[in-house]
């Protein structure tokens, strides 16, 4: 048995030796890749766009993709993030309150829209939010209204149309938009309120109602340079690129709304 353990440890060491070198020649500050912290819900579009940006400019980009809360905590702890793209206004405000946002660089990069989805094999027609009161919608998945942005927005909308108090008991809170989507996909709930981009990304759900942009509260994905980045010039260039016509096409293809001010 001891011999087995030794063999195991030796194997692990060989693996470690193989994995460690390679890129461990720590890049100097100058040729360090641009570090972009982006909300994980933006993974697909950010991967496409940063790859294209690198192809055009030769500047390498490393993407750190996690929940906006995690990204904000990292920046506040001192992470050398060049560009922060948050899916949550509050998290950007939090970083700004610490004085870690480069002044004048913050933009409202993207917007989104709330939609009601049902499992793909369910037929339902919803032409007004009040139709969610029908008995067929016994359980409705939403983001946790106490902190998960998609849930905060859903709550604000349901309150604004006067349905919150009556629907409250039917709501099943999830810890991310993706989690909400998954519960609808498997039919664990009768409907869910997610972003349009989530609905587009899934074959397992069908969109039955779109919250009119003018009625829902403004959903914003703010982007800004942090004061701790190592390459502000390139970061600024990347942020401009993310506002270009080419980037807009990619964002809109995925279902995002590019705010008027940028068009």
């Amino acid at each position: 048995m001891m011999r087995l353990t030794m063999v195991f440890l030796a194997l692990s060491l060989v693996l470690a030796a193989c994995a460690l070198p390679g890129e461990d020649g720590r890049p100097t500050r100058r040729d360090r890749p641009l570090l972009v912290s982006a909300a994980v819900s933006l993974s697909g579009v950010m991967e496409t766009l940063t790859t294209d940006y690198t192809r055009r400019t030769g500047t390498a980009v490393e993407l750190n993709l996690a929940a906006s809360t995690v990204l904000a905590i990292q920046i506040i702890a001192g992470a050398r993030v060049d560009l922060f793209v948050s899916a949550d206004l509050f998290q950007m405000d939090r970083v700004a309150a610490e004085g870690l946002i480069r002044s004048g660089t913050r933009v409202d990069l993207l917007s989104n829209q709330l939609v009601v989805v049902v499992p793909a094999d369910v037929t339902a027609s919803v032409t007004s939010p009040a139709m969610l009161l029908q008995p067929m919608f016994g359980r409705i998945a939403v983001g946790d209204p106490d902190g998960v942005p998609v849930g905060v927005y859903a709550r604000a909308y349901l309150e604004s149309v006067g349905l919150w108090d009556r629907l409250k008991v039917r709501l099943v809170p999830g810890r991310s938009a993706r989690a909400v989507l998954a519960t609808v996909e498997v039919g664990a709930v009768d409907a869910g309120i997610v972003y349009r981009t989530d609905a587009r990304s899934s074959d397992g759900v069908r969109e039955v109602f779109e919250v009119p942009v003018a009625e829902g509260s403004a959903i914003s994905y703010p982007a800004a340079l942090t004061t701790q980045g190592t390459n502000p010039a390139a970061a600024e260039q990347l942020l401009r690129y993310l506002q270009s016509a080419k980037a807009r096409a990619v964002f809109e293809q995925a279902g995002f709304i590019v705010p008027e001010s940028q068009q």
Binding site: T5, S12, S41, L63, I76, A77, G78, A79, S201, Q228
Partner: protein, 223 residues
């Protein structure tokens, strides 16, 4: 697919490294807790075990506040050119902190099972405490130490909460657990499932070995 194998071997390598890092201090701590009475012993034992019961995110928050560039330890490390956040060092550190309690507890049990008489006999024959430790106590507690190392290694393999905070989810620091999260959040279910299967297989192997070591009883010298 190649991505999945690359992430898996990276994670195994980092977990192995973390296990090696905690082995010397972990064994020393385990021996101290098993064999010595000193003031603050229970406090030390509790502190070491804390990451076992704290939510991993809480451990991650503590680590990131200490080791981030703006944290008290981070400030000390920066002039020496050591940056922890978003590096492989961060991956190893998060794994080490989470694995340490499991190593110490199992190794401590291993030392406690060693019959003190063997140690005493060695001492009466003239062996100093260091020699007693290396020639009697450690070999006799070997199974416990090995079982603990494998437990710590298994825990390190699955570490998520502290890792994603301290090491981020960058291509260069992505572990199995972080990759499962990312694949899930981006709807790449096939990749997520494959990653789960790989992770379960490796963890099964390590845990199986650990259990066999732990349950086969203390090793006794052949008479």
């Amino acid at each position: 697919m190649s991505d999945i194998l690359r992430i898996a071997s990276f994670t195994v390598a980092m977990a192995a490294l973390a296990t090696l890092v905690i082995l010397p201090p972990g064994v020393a701590l385990a021996w101290l807790l098993a064999r010595r009475q000193f003031p603050g012993r229970m406090v030390l034992a509790t502190l070491v075990s804390l990451p076992l019961v704290l939510p991993p995110v809480a451990t991650g928050l503590i680590l990131i506040r200490l080791l981030g560039r703006r944290g008290p330890l981070g400030i000390l490390l920066e002039p020496v050119g050591i940056e922890v956040m978003f590096t492989r060092l961060a991956v190893v550190l998060a794994m080490a902190v989470m694995g340490l309690p499991l190593l110490v507890r199992a190794a401590q049990a291993g030392f406690e099972q060693v019959d003190r008489r063997y140690e005493q006999i060695a001492a009466t024959l003239g062996a100093g405490p260091v020699r007693v430790f290396f020639t009697v106590s450690l070999p006799l507690a070997g199974r416990g130490v090995a079982a603990g190392a494998l437990l710590g290694f298994s825990r390190a393999l699955g570490e998520f909460g502290a890792t994603i905070l301290l090491a981020g989810a960058l291509p260069s620091t992505r572990t199995i657990a972080v990759a499962i999260f990312t694949y899930n959040e981006t709807g790449q279910e096939a990749a997520a499932t494959a990653m789960v299967a790989v992770s379960a297989t490796i963890a099964f192997g390590a845990l199986f070995l650990s259990n066999r070591l732990a349950t086969s009883g203390p090793w006794r010298p052949a008479s």
